[in-house]
């Protein structure tokens, strides 16, 4: 177990440097004017230029300069310094104001996934071929097929406009106002988790150890509730880890639609105001969050599946 965790940590470190290098290279690869690249098509004032040159060590040139600047960027990231927006505001400050919304939103979305997605998936998996199963399969397929922002607008149109159950925007941060955005945000993950749980349960139900458990004379609810479920949830938990990445990309869209002033909202705003440092800074953070959640899931995976620990 210990060796497994150490290996995962090393892999994460590798992935961390890889991803940050990739993000950095995509943004600042040596061609054209990197400052202009950050600012997009907006004009850059002399003072902004001086600040950015200083900050990113743009006076150094060549591959050396690139690596030097990359190292700056990474060490800043590790110190929790995500840079400043074009307007000179610290991105950490922006994040501080924004994260409570996004965390609430994401937690609510994950709760939907766990409560509805997994439960319905287990039922569908047990009653494969039933009306419930075919209906949920079809519904989840539709949900998976519809992009989040379309879902968001349809949800907003129907629930806030036609039936007036919710307010169209959720900028007060109350749990009720976040309900609809969270549902929209979690919908894709919910549908995917449901299908995954269904497949996993159906597959495990057919495995030999189920027959063994039955032949021990255990009641059906124990066979399914303990033996099957414990095995079926292994891939689902792994998926939930990966889905955090989707939730963060989804938040960019969902928060824009419902005007939730969270982290994703700031990315969307950064794109619109062509604020490169803001976009890159926040995305760097999101990538780190994603890597960390993957690490946690990997460890959880090893806890859940004893076969993994000894690989």
């Amino acid at each position: 177990m210990f060796r497994y965790i150490v290996r995962r940590l090393l892999q994460m470190a590798l992935a961390f440097f890889g991803t940050t290098l990739l993000v950095y290279a995509m943004m600042f690869a040596a061609q054209g004017d990197p400052i202009q690249a950050l600012a997009g098509e907006k004009p850059v004032s002399a003072s902004q230029r001086a600040v950015l040159t200083e900050r990113y060590h743009l006076d150094k040139t060549g591959i050396d300069g690139f690596l030097y600047r990359y190292w700056d960027y990474v060490s800043n990231l590790m110190r929790g310094d995500f840079g400043t927006t074009l307007a000179g505001r610290s991105i950490s400050d922006v994040l501080q104001a924004a994260w409570p919304f996004t965390i609430k939103l994401a937690l609510m979305a994950i709760s939907f996934v766990i409560v509805f997605g997994i439960t319905a998936g287990v039922i569908a998996g047990i009653r494969r071929g039933s009306l419930f199963d075919t209906t949920t399969l079809l519904l989840t397929l539709v949900v998976i097929g519809i992009p989040v922002f379309v879902l968001g607008y349809i949800g907003q149109y129907l629930l806030t406009n036609k039936w007036r159950l919710f307010k169209p925007t959720a900028n007060d941060g109350s749990l009720y106002s976040l309900l609809l955005p969270a549902l929209v945000l979690g919908m894709l993950a919910l549908a995917t988790a449901l299908r995954l749980t269904r497949t996993s349960v159906a597959e495990n139900l057919r495995s030999d150890y189920v027959r063994t458990a039955k032949s021990k004379g255990l009641p059906q609810r124990r066979v399914i509730g303990v033996h099957v479920l414990r095995n079926s949830l292994i891939p689902v938990v792994t998926y939930l880890g990966i889905t955090i990445g989707d939730l963060m990309s989804g938040a960019i869209v969902t928060e824009r639609i419902f005007n939730v002033p969270g982290i994703g909202f700031n990315v969307a705003k950064g794109i619109q105001t062509e604020d490169g440092p803001l976009v890159v800074g926040i995305i760097s953070l999101l990538v780190i969050v994603y890597l960390t959640s993957n690490l946690i899931v990997d460890v959880l995976y090893a806890v859940l599946d004893p076969r993994i620990r000894y690989e």
């Binding site: 992935a15 995509m26 519809i146 989040v148 406009n161 169209p168 890159v280 995305i283 999101l286």
Partner: protein, 296 residues
């Protein structure tokens, strides 16, 4: 859990592909999805056949005007013909989807087969790079790369969006190709072919490629849907296809502020987008089910 000894004697000897095709022909989902896909490709190839109106002829005089003979879906916030724009929008979506998927597929096959077949350091290198690229959610990576491309090249047309999504989207397919190559490589008949003196090239083309084909096609079909969805999301966020290019995502963005007063100009392209993405995902799903004997 029907006892394994029974199923072996009951199964008639049919090849996997024939069996899969037998299943596919009976799947209504497969037919519905195929018809939608063919129709969409038709619209994308010849949008002029479906509308005689000019999607770029917009006039504020027609702002939110109701449906007319030329414009069955009415007019949008800028007075553009919603129907015409939706038809021409299909072209961008399908173009981006096809180019990006072709690109991703080519990279995936080349690298996945090389890594799976030769193993060793090539495999390690590829696997680690896959891990890195896959550690950045597609949309986030696409935002960064497109931001960069738009700043330097200035253009954010179909090509740069397709390039971005292709360059970032290949890892999933490459993983699938790699693992099916590895499993095919260990099959007895491949080993036998090698003993009989077949060269690497021949073994790869005749024995290993066909094996990797089915799972890769499934993944790539689904990816086509995902790419179209991502393109629309990017255009919606204002970083994908930019005006004057016509795209569903862009139309949705243009009209998003008015969803409470006039939902039509938003819902029509949104509906087409959803159906398109759904069709590709359903198609991939149906093929996968047909090829996956475990789910029978």
């Amino acid at each position: 859990m029907s006892s394994p000894e029974e199923s072996t004697t009951l199964a008639k000897p049919r090849s996997l592909a024939a069996d899969a095709w037998y299943d596919l022909r009976r799947s209504p989902i497969f037919w519905i999805a195929s018809i939608i896909v063919v129709a969409l490709v038709g619209i994308a190839a010849f949008p002029g056949l479906f509308t005689s109106a000019d999607p770029k002829a917009c006039s504020l005089d027609f702002r939110f005007a109701g449906p007319g003979p030329e414009a069955p879906f009415g007019y949008d916030v800028q007075g553009c013909n919603v129907y015409a724009r939706t038809m021409y929008g299909a072209r961008s979506s399908i173009e981006v989807g096809l180019f990006a998927t072709l690109m991703a597929g080519t990279i995936a096959f080349a690298l996945g087969m090389a890594a799976g077949f030769y193993g060793r350091w090539i495999d390690t290198l590829l696997s680690r790079s896959l891990d890195v690229i896959a550690s950045i959610p597609l949309l986030l990576a696409a935002i960064v790369l497109l931001k960069r491309l738009s700043a330097t090249g200035g253009s954010t047309g179909v090509w740069s969006v397709a390039f971005t999504l292709g360059v970032l989207g290949w890892p999933v397919a490459a993983r699938v190709v790699r693992s099916s190559v590895i499993s095919a490589k260990q099959q007895d008949y491949v080993q036998a072919a090698r003993m009989l003196g077949a060269g690497n090239g021949r073994i790869m083309l005749r024995h290993i490629l066909p094996n990797a084909m089915a799972p890769a096609i499934v993944v790539l079909t689904i990816m086509l849907g995902t790419v179209i969805a991502t393109e629309a999301t990017l255009s919606f966020l204002g970083i994908g296809l930019q005006p004057p290019a016509i795209s569903w995502g862009g139309s949705i963005n243009d009209n998003s502020a008015y969803v409470r007063t006039a939902a039509g100009p938003l819902l029509w392209p949104a509906g087409f987008l959803a159906v398109t993405v759904l069709a590709f995902i359903m198609l991939g799903d149906a093929i996968r089910d047909a090829f996956d004997p475990r789910m029978r």
